[in-house]
Amino acid sequence: MTWTRRHLITIEELSLREIEQVHATASAFKSILKRSVKKVPALRGKTIVNLFLEPSTRTRMAFDMAAKRLSADVIAFDAASSSTTKGETLRDTAENIQALNADMIVIRHSAAGSPLYLSKILDIPVINAGDGAHEHPTQGLLDTFTMKEHLGPLKGRKVAILGDILFSRVARSNIYALTKMGAAVTLVGPSTLVPHGFTAIGAQVSHDLKSALADADVVMLLRIQHERQGHRHFPSLGEYTSMFGLNKTRASWLNPKAIIMHPGPINRGVEIDSELADGERSVILEQVSNGIAVRMAVLYLCAGNQPEQVISSTE
């Protein structure tokens, strides 16, 4: 089956087959990244603009790295020094970028729906690098890619996502990816941050940590975005840690072979004990490394290439 998608806006709209195509392509790129010469000429002569209108470290660097590994030219658009601070609209900014002959835009924005909006305006591919509390599709793809590396097929696996679900784009993208892949997703955290409405998109909702973690194959922790919520959604970080922070005792409830994940940035001692974050079950840094291969795959495919091309070239 050929890859036909030009934009990557959500995982909600991807088919299982498309998710598998990204994973297969990422796997091929990952083997290239292990070589001494890590660069392939796949996107030589193409220009990718990283339009990051919200702070980001990991995602921005991984997209930057991915584009460079594919030999694309990368232009970083810095929100702080850009015309958006002078009142230019997103439409005008994007149309200017297209007029400068960019071949692809990677956008990170605090407003949900912005990547979809851009994809309707522009003729070039738009890749969503996180839009508000909506989706972060490449994160969902790299997280499931990492899970597969450790657990094999995810069908029938139990994944617990713990923390601030309400404001999390990572949670949403993972829920869609995991449910499409046949895994069972349980969301757990304080009732103010894990509303029951998430059952409508296929996840289970729980406020009981013990039953949610019992026999889970994966626990994914999300950062408590205290700066977004003020002090209304829970009393204090201390209380959060005492009720929902992952510590050794609670980690013992997991399946013995379970892995611990976190999309970063981590607040050590808040949502996770420092020791566990660095422990042998933690795959947090693998997630970061896999982020490059998965984003290479996404850029490569949305630029109009097919999965088979890269897979056969690495065999």
Partner: protein, 428 residues
């Protein structure tokens, strides 16, 4: 002014319970039962065979943006949109720039109306100075200047004490108080209905409860003071139920619903189209149905458009950043015919009642009837004609409509104000 002779129309006047095919006459700007032979000869004749002649429609909730935001709409363009939609009387909200919180601004608006308007535009004044919810506006002076109601529309008065004093004070002048029911402490940063769709789209939710709380508060304050509060654009099922119980208890409250809240739900936001963003937001199917039941049983008194023009460049933004509001005057009748008459089987006379006699009654306006001696404000429409709405070609200065490009059924053919045809406009 020549006499008017509207021939062979299906004349529907909800106020006098008339629904029969016949002729309608006007002389010197008033409805008359018949014309003399001499007047008939001179009369301007309108062949209305197959058409409905109803009282000119009344909308007690529009934003005409003048003074101060004339890039969006002016009294001239807004009144043309009203005329094109069959409306002959509209009540404009005071959230202009500056806000209409003083007699001078009201006078400015009335001067512009006299100079530029095709229809009857009646101003409202603010409840509080600058709509800040802190100090009462000079309500008595506003009344003397000509406002028909007071409201801080868009900025619901949050202080219960201030609201209590406002309604008590306004009652002395017989001025209704219109309230946009929103507990702002619950809607910080909210851009759509809170529910399954907001979870899916990752947008901040505006819960029904924020409306229900203020509706309840208003019922309690109205009951306590005996003052009339009109609840604007009710959107939640529970709010309908609260108003229903209040009315059963004899509390002096009234309420309205918009065409968009009875036609659309939050599912329409799936593509983040900002022409579906308004405040209060589109809600769920259960809410939509409850509004229709409320209109059917009289809990909700009338239809109002909340016509809220914004320019393309203001609306063409990230969903979070686009302003709330949509235009509605030119599509309201067709949408009401679709939702209430064709889908919900309201008799046509009942649907028209919600757009004529009843809204006029809420504010005590001398409008909304074809009774003999009434102003000859008439809307003639084809209830079945299908047409495609192109908002860019409409009469409003703005085109922020969720119905842009849609085929609608029911089209206004002629609008008459005080016996004068204001739509379609003469070629000159």
């Amino acid at each position: 002014m020549p006499a008017l002779w509207i021939r062979n129309a299906r004349v529907i006047d909800p106020a006098s319970r008339r629904d029969s095919v016949g002729d309608l006459f006007s002389l010197d700007g008033k409805i008359v039962p018949r014309l003399s032979a001499a007047d008939r000869r001179r009369a301007r004749k309108i062949d209305a065979r197959g058409l409905v002649a109803a009282p000119g429609l009344v909308d007690i909730h529009v934003h005409f943006r003048e003074p101060g935001q004339t890039q969006k709409e002016t009294i001239a363009t807004g009144s043309r949109a009203a005329a094109a939609g069959g409306f002959t009387t509209v009540v404009c909200m005071p959230n202009t720039a500056p806000a209409a919180d003083n007699a001078g601004t009201i006078q400015f608006i009335l001067d512009a109306v006299r100079r530029d308007s095709l229809v009857k535009v009646l101003p409202t004044g603010c409840i509080t100075i600058g709509m800040k919810g802190e100090n009462l506006a000079p309500i008595g002076s506003l009344k003397r200047a000509g406002v028909v109601a007071i409201t801080d529309d868009g900025d619901c008065v949050q202080s219960n004490e201030l609201m209590r004093r406002a309604i008590e004070y306004a009652k002395m002048f017989g001025l209704p108080v219109m309230d946009h029911c929103q507990d702002q402490s619950m809607t910080e940063g909210a851009v759509m209905n809170e529910g399954n769709v907001s979870i899916r789209l990752g947008l901040r939710g505006w819960p029904n409860a924020a409306e229900d709380l203020i509706v309840s508060r208003n019922v309690i304050l109205s009951r306590y003071t005996g003052a009339h509060i009109h609840m604007q654009h009710i959107s939640s099922a529970l709010s309908v139920e609260i108003v229903r119980r209040a009315k059963a208890d004899g509390v002096c409250v009234t309420a309205e619903a918009t065409p968009h809240h009875i036609a659309l739900t939050d599912e329409a936001l799936a593509t983040y189209d900002t022409n579906f963003k308004m405040n209060p937001p589109l809600r769920t199917e259960a809410d939509r149905r409850a509004l229709i039941v409320g209109l059917r049983d009289g809990t909700l008194d009338c239809i109002s458009t909340d016509h809220a023009p914004h320019t393309d460049y203001e609306k063409d933004k990230e969903f979070d950043y686009a302003p709330n509001g949509i235009i509605g005057l030119e599509t309201a009748l067709a949408v009401v015919l679709e939702v209430l008459v064709r889908q919900s089987r309201f008799p046509l006379r009942k649907a028209l009642d919600l757009m004529t006699r009843k809204p006029a009654g809420v504010l005590g306006l001398p409008a909304g009837t074809l009774a003999s001696g009434a102003p000859a404000d008439i809307c003639i429409f084809d209830p079945d004609e299908a047409w495609t709405y192109d908002a860019k070609k409409g009469y409003s200065k703005s085109s922020n409509s969720p119905w842009n490009g849609r085929t609608l059924r029911g089209r206004v053919k002629t609008t008459i104000v005080d016996g004068r045809i204001v739509f379609p406009l003469a070629a000159s």
